[in-house]
Symmetry: C2
Subunit: 249 residues, 2 copies
Amino acid sequence: MTQTPRERARAQTMAEILSIGRAQLAEHGAAGLSMRAVARELGVVSSAVYRYVASRDELLTLLLVDGYNALGDTVDQAVDSVPSDDFSAQWRALGRAVREWGLAEPARYGLLFGAPVPGYEAPAAQTTEPGTRVVLRLVRLIEDAYKAGVLDDQMPGQTPGQTPGRRPGQAPAQAPAANFAAVREELALEVPDAVLARGILVWTALFGAVNFEVFGQYGAATFADPAALFELHLDSLAHILGLRHPGTR
Amino acid sequence: MTQTPRERARAQTMAEILSIGRAQLAEHGAAGLSMRAVARELGVVSSAVYRYVASRDELLTLLLVDGYNALGDTVDQAVDSVPSDDFSAQWRALGRAVREWGLAEPARYGLLFGAPVPGYEAPAAQTTEPGTRVVLRLVRLIEDAYKAGVLDDQMPGQTPGQTPGRRPGQAPAQAPAANFAAVREELALEVPDAVLARGILVWTALFGAVNFEVFGQYGAATFADPAALFELHLDSLAHILGLRHPGTR
DNA sequence: CACAAGTCAAGAGCGGTGCTCACTTAAGTT
DNA sequence: AACTTAAGTGAGCACCGCTCTTGACTTGTG
């Protein structure tokens, strides 16, 4: 399947548009992404861009999946560069990769995890698969650790048969909660509900921390060393997951 | 200090502009906030609005502190409506208040905690005080619980003298991390570093969870009952904080 | 009580935006 | 060499934030 010169030229122009779009995004944000500016940068009249991208929304979608995949690739690479039996290190690599990518690409990160662009609805068909790569990787990590038997299947400090922080007689929230069963089946998981729940909590906590830092919610001056604070969080979250360094215990 | 009819009229117009701004924000997002649209809605020519608000940015700032205060009031009210000695319930009330406010006002929530509006720098002088109300309330809650002696001053499952998930000989991240000392002094706190660190983790986790839900990152269909999932998270986070229901244990 | 000083609404205009459409040009295909 | 078709053009519509100027109105004071 060799491509004609026309297809070659088209593909290259397309790539150039995406590249310009990324730059525009970094400079002016998602709402400030301008077709005219892209055209200007491309050295072409504004309407010419519409030969390649149907609308501003479509360009946004392309940049969205591009961003998801860039983050996904970064995370995959980071996790893969760690011994496959050291799940604690894998978790830390994943967390650090997310944080560092977010800090390096705040505009793209904001597009992926910030407030949705008003008036724009991400088309699920093209978006969900790349958009779930990081969670999926985390869940697989947990699943692998569970199967390897190195995961405490119990909330630390939680004794079996007693859900802490809950009066006896009160129904435990665990059971009826979000239907983990569906998720577990969809992903062909073996981990029990409790572990899955912890995984989701850790997932949200990770992105909460990165959000605060990337979006500047920490207030700059407050914490002298955000990287160290993040490492602290990674430790705590690993502990919550039940992950331990190999060799410990 | 009675106000002249002029002042009365001006104050009312000002309030109306803010109200319209909120509506515009909800409909078109922060970047789509339009002075002309506000003027149109106000039944006035576009430039007239500049008699009341110096610029689009100033209107944004007004809406920002307005939002922070609305959330702060909601949280304060929710926490205050709970027995002052039931810290676990106070925590849950705080968390639920944040979530419910965010879901009820996604656009405003997005303005406060989403990606920063490109090209807009929130003026710290007017913004930091209202912007820190929720964290401050959480920290006070933890401080109070600590002083009342109902807070485990230890990570659950963590035995003293041993930092879990960390090889012996490796320096503990706790000590040099973000300079908690400065924070503790600034807020006149008594809680030890470890508790403060957990507080920050729980804070980020709370907003991470709410972000995901408000910004639609959960993917709708995935979790049948997000409210139940959130309750689960509240439970887990309370446990991490070391909060227990009174009467338990 | 009149009039200067001050306040504020209004309009025109500048340079920007997304997008459409009729059109020409130039390149690839047959 | 002839033909098809993709690529690029430029005018145009309706919108945007913001500035500058004009003119009407209110108020305080000599």
